[in-house]
């Protein structure tokens, strides 16, 4: 078994673990919000920032700007099991910025510096290009502006970063102001039994 395949299996296990934690978290939310019958969610196949084929269009920042909360209830999430773990991630770096002396883009993409980059697995001591990197989004800093989501989309990236509503933060407004602003009808109200 190659390093890659064994690591993919580990990552797959980690992703399943994260999904279970997410479910457990959601169960807690449902318990807290037992009187609620719905929750808001984003259809990533409709959101312009993640919709395949929507290339060369402006980033939609409505999820960041239109939430009634000061820091939006929407955050970006990187699904590690789908990430290419690239040396130069177009969601982390501004890949159009000038190249620095280290051979990397000199500027980052995220305006809130909410993405962490870390070499993972066995590290090549001589060649940083010969490593895999994990990109983790700090939920406390992210405001869901969607820029990294747009840059991670195929074909530039693998589409592993997407926007999600944080149900432990969302106020479950009856008329979500993001849903009203959303130009793509991507912001949906789901019956809780189907969430």
């Amino acid at each position: 078994m190659s390093d890659e395949r064994s690591r993919r299996e580990v990552l797959g296990t980690a992703a399943r673990g994260a999904a279970l934690v997410g479910l457990a978290g959601l169960t807690g939310v449902l318990a807290v919000k037992a009187n609620k019958t719905y929750a808001w969610s984003i259809d990533i196949t409709k959101c312009v920032n993640s919709k395949l084929g929507a290339l060369g269009v402006d980033v939609c920042e409505a999820c960041a700007t239109d939430c009634v909360l000061t820091l939006s209830a929407v955050r970006a999430v990187n699904e590690f099991s789908e990430c290419g773990r690239c040396y130069i991630c177009p969601a982390y770096y501004d890949i159009t910025s000038a190249v620095g002396p280290d051979g990397l883009p000199s500027e980052k993409l995220c305006p809130r510096d909410a993405i962490e980059r870390e070499a993972i697995g066995w590290i090549d001591p001589d060649d940083p290009a010969n490593n895999f990197y994990e990109y983790t989004i700090d939920e406390k800093l992210c405001n869901g502006c969607g820029r990294c989501v747009m840059e991670c989309k195929e074909p530039a990236g693998l589409g592993s970063i997407r926007l999600e509503v944080r149900h432990n933060v969302c106020l479950d407004c009856n008329r979500c102001s993001i849903a009203t602003a959303c130009p793509e009808e991507a912001y949906e109200r789901d019956a809780l039994s189907t969430v």
Partner: protein, 273 residues
């Protein structure tokens, strides 16, 4: 004179996928996509087609006119009429075959599952891997494809997109050197997360590469000096892993997997036949 095109081959011939393109000594064009091989005259006329057992990922034509099609965990070999002559499997070793090179007694199969290249002899005996001595255990291919070409001296030129390099290997797997660097502004460099994705050599040893996001074609001299870039709106913006072939006249055949057609780049504008 700059490279340009106004000619396409295989338009409206594939409905879901177009993954590989190759040429034979007569200038015929071989395309694999969906689950079929389609052969076109040099003028672009469909002359023959047949089904493959699995979706074809790549295609090559050997000096005897046999057509090799890379698939998942196997290679199908057809005679010039499209009759199945042989099927190679190497259970437990061979994964998704995304590029094929044949030279003298050697057969090289790019294995995108393992992320390296398998070296066999002509009767299918495994000899060695190429790229497995990379300390990270293979080529970096977030794009999902390993592509390479063999030069007149038998040296393999391999695209290593995640490292923004083109690497050269001896058939025994020894790394001879590489060129390339990341650059999102200067076309001499390779932009984005992972470029170049695909690679071919012309008869002078120049290295022709394709890139994704945005799709473009570039040419480097045999030492890796940047010569030329073609970046207009020829290709669908979503196109990635555009396979390449170059004929004896220097024409570059580019398989656009989204537009589902093969664009022909040449130094003299050609009229649509």
């Amino acid at each position: 004179m700059k490279l340009e095109t106004n000619r396409a081959i295989a338009s409206n011939q594939f409905s879901e996928a177009l993954r590989g393109v190759a040429l034979d000594g007569e200038g015929r064009v071989y395309a694999v996509g969906d689950s079929s091989v389609k052969v076109f005259s040099s003028e672009g006329e469909l002359v023959r087609q047949w089904k493959t057992a699995l979706p074809g990922q790549c295609v090559a034509v050997d000096d005897g006119g046999r057509i090799w099609v890379g698939e998942f965990e196997q290679v199908e070999i057809f005679d010039a009429e499209g009759r199945l002559a042989d099927t190679w499997k190497d259970a437990g070793r061979l994964g998704l075959v995304t590029s094929i090179g044949i030279r003298d007694d050697d057969v090289f199969l790019a294995d995108a599952t393992a992320r390296w290249i398998r070296h066999y002899n002509r009767v299918g005996e495994f000899l060695n891997n190429i790229g497995d001595r990379h300390r990270k255990g293979g080529f970096h291919i977030p794009n999902g494809v390993v592509d390479f070409a063999i030069d007149a001296d038998g040296i393999l030129h391999v695209a290593n997109p995640g490292m923004h390099r083109v690497e050269r290997y001896k058939p025994d797997g020894e790394l001879l050197g590489h060129f390339g660097r990341f650059d999102g502004r200067d076309p001499a460099g390779f932009p984005g997360c992972c470029n170049p994705t695909n690679l071919a050599l012309d008869s002078s040893g120049r290295v022709v590469v394709s890139e994704k996001a945005g799709p473009r074609i570039k040419v480097y001299d045999p030492d890796g000096e940047f010569l030329e870039v073609v970046t207009d709106d020829l290709f669908d913006p979503a196109a990635k892993n555009m396979d390449l072939a170059v004929d004896a006249g220097g024409r570059i055949y580019v398989a656009d997997p989204v537009a589902l057609e093969i664009r022909v780049l040449s130094r003299r504008a050609e009229t649509v036949p």
